[in-house]
Amino acid sequence: MEISLMSLGEIKALKKKRTALWVFLIGTLLALAVFVLLAYLFQNRPTQTIWIAFGTVLTSIWLIVAAYVILKMLSPLSHYLKFSKTALSRKRQINAVRVDSLGSGIETYDGFKTRLLEGKEIDELTLMHYRYEASADLDLKIGHVYEIEAFDGVIVRMREKA
């Protein structure tokens, strides 16, 4: 069975996710702006401590959430999207590889997280190192042979060979 890690459909889905994240960021920023306006309109000397405390908590939460969304969601997504577009538009290398080992750790490559795979090309026994997107749900088995289509060492598609 062929598994596509990068495809036009995937790119479309990723773009939707990216738009949703921007909508979330801008929407919550607007909500915060409304709160600032309300604070400006309704604060006075007796209530100023409450507004400062409430405003500090809300602004801190927004900044922390925004930082998480930008650093941990939007940034890797954008990098992966860009890489996927490049990979699908360029010539890719296809090899039949027997999987020797699967890396347990996660490494960041070109702005997104990847896992490692090591194997030998079955004809020439060349040692091959591949990466694949870390959250991809792949059921790889050591010793099995896979036809791997990759760009710059990152798996685009793969299929288990009988």
């Binding site: 500090t56 922390i64 930082a67 650093l71």
Partner: protein
Amino acid sequence: MKIAPNKKDLGDFFVTWGWLLLLFIGLSYVVWYWPISTLDSIKDYEQINFFFESYGLNDNTLQSDLLADLQGKGVAEVNLYDYAPTDASLTSYYDKFGAASDFLVLTGNDLDAMFASSASTSVASEFVPFSSALRTATMPTDDYEYFQVSAVSYGLKVYDAAEVSYNAAHPFDKLLDFTSSGTAGDSYYLLLNAQTPNFKPYDADAITSNAVEALRYFLAEYR
């Protein structure tokens, strides 16, 4: 690509970016504290300030009593600054507190020195004179003596170093101690500072009449 947050990612994020998150909390506090405290700060037109040259306050209820009387008229704070005429730092205290005070109680010697210079007209412009209109508005009976320059009354005498009967009729010594052993006696005068915005309509630049109300209260309290 899955981007939904999970426990591990969140944990890693807080560990890696902890310093930034602390900075965000501090920044948020500053961003809220500074503008709100600026908006709510007590403005010049909400303050009544007294700067006294004297050897001590005898009555410490003027501040609270005057505030209670004027609170409904937009006054949020009454401050009393009291320094001895012999204080070596008096000039710097005057620059810091007196220059922004509505009411100044200064010695006759100081007034003589202030108004003696050739530029006394510019000095005079810094004070609101006790015009007949102002006197009518603030005094039930005008039996005060004044420090006059060119026939204009700038200082209302609150203590006469030589005339006991004047002081008995105008007992400002209930508020201030005008004498000190070892110093030569001096008369004291109350001046109205035109640099504050509270002498409407007797000062063209003023925006409130709070100091006029305060003057009425002050004179009624000590007679």
